[in-house]
Symmetry: C2
Subunit: 191 residues, 2 copies
DNA sequence: CCTGTGCATTGACTTGGGTTAAGAAATGAA
DNA sequence: TTCATTTCTTAACCCAAGTCAATGCACAGG
């Protein structure tokens, strides 16, 4: 698989690229394939990278009293900026691959070099950041406003792929409930 | 009250300011006082401004089935960037003053003018944005991971001022529960 | 093929928040 | 001060999620 094209496709969502710029993108970032269950960031470590999921699925989770609490699933074209990467303090949470995944890694230096060379990308970065931030706020709002049952129905509607590619007990954790409860919700809904 | 100094104080948190820069800050933004219960943004309207709370308290809330669902309280030095301001689509939520408040308003034009004149402020803006985004993610994580009782205890510990300046039924809404439940939680904790 | 492991379901019971309704306490205006 | 309104508390009952335990089911490895 030519993984470089995935990154070019990602940037193309936001702006038209000259052949020259395409070359730069192909050469700038580190792209790697990771096996299922590969841990990208461990709690306690300081993140050295931010990520962009090009293919596959990554989950973000805490471990509390030996239990995983899943906060997010990242899939195709989702950027991941760990809090630990921004603050350079030990991470409170883990990142690991739910599926075999193709992921682009960035560092502070690589990003700044990139921006210095190609300032025309800055408005795009800002736009992506704004959109992301708004999206996050709205999903928080939804979570707060809805019952677990509502949240499950909305998830099925908005991210049907997730339901199929992720085990149900992870979906339950993501929804903030126990697997048994999700089972009962499904029973209530589908019968 | 000399409200200009509040804005200068805000910027000084993040970088040292020359006398010249201080003059610019004093002249650039619109600062106004608002009475208690003034609505800054109404659901259905497209936001024309982003805000910075210099003094007082603003709440962000939806109205669902005639009930207010409070998502956030913004107090001294909290910036407010409405989703509607970013996307230029009608707002889903309201912003209104819980107390008489002093608030600085910004527009797209004023911000861009400001940046064009003083590019040295850009890294600061980016830093503020990053910090804000991380802070939001962490408070979402906390909300998901904790019971209403935990959430109340943490709020008392982390923002004790809010408990005093905001009516309890608003705190309850903010915690995602009914006033009656918060009453019971307090009884459980303090007796 | 059988077996072990991990995942999903079901049932009985507990617990804590929602609902409804009433009344007490605090606040503010006349 | 008095009265009205808003806010907070309490009680009884309901319901959905948590807990604990057993069972079913699918898939992988031997």
């Amino acid at each position: 698989m030519n993984t470089d094209n995935l990154l070019v496709a990602y940037f193309s969502q936001y702006m038209d690229l000259s052949p020259e710029e395409i070359e730069v993108i192909k050469n700038t970032d580190i792209i790697r394939e990771y096996a299922k269950n590969t841990v990208l960031l461990e709690a306690g470590q300081v993140a050295k990278n931010c990520f962009l999921v090009l293919k596959g699925c990554v989950r973000r989770y805490y471990i509390q009293d030996g239990e995983e609490r899943i906060m997010d699933f990242y899939t195709e074209n989702d950027p991941i900026t760990p809090a630990s990467y921004v603050s350079q303090t030990p991470s409170e949470y883990y990142l690991s691959c739910v599926e075999p995944s193709v992921i682009s890694s960035g560092t502070d230096e690589s990003t700044q070099e990139f921006i210095a060379k190609f300032p025309q990308f800055v408005p795009m970065f800002i736009k992506i950041g704004d959109q992301l931030s708004v999206k996050k706020q709205l999903s928080f709002d939804n979570f707060k406003n809805q019952s677990p049952e509502d949240r499950y129905q909305q998830l099925v509607a908005s991210r049907p792929d997730l339901i199929n590619r992720v085990p149900q007990y992870m979906i339950a954790s993501y929804l903030g409930i126990k697997p048994e409860s999700l089972s009962r919700i499904r029973k209530r809904l589908f019968s």
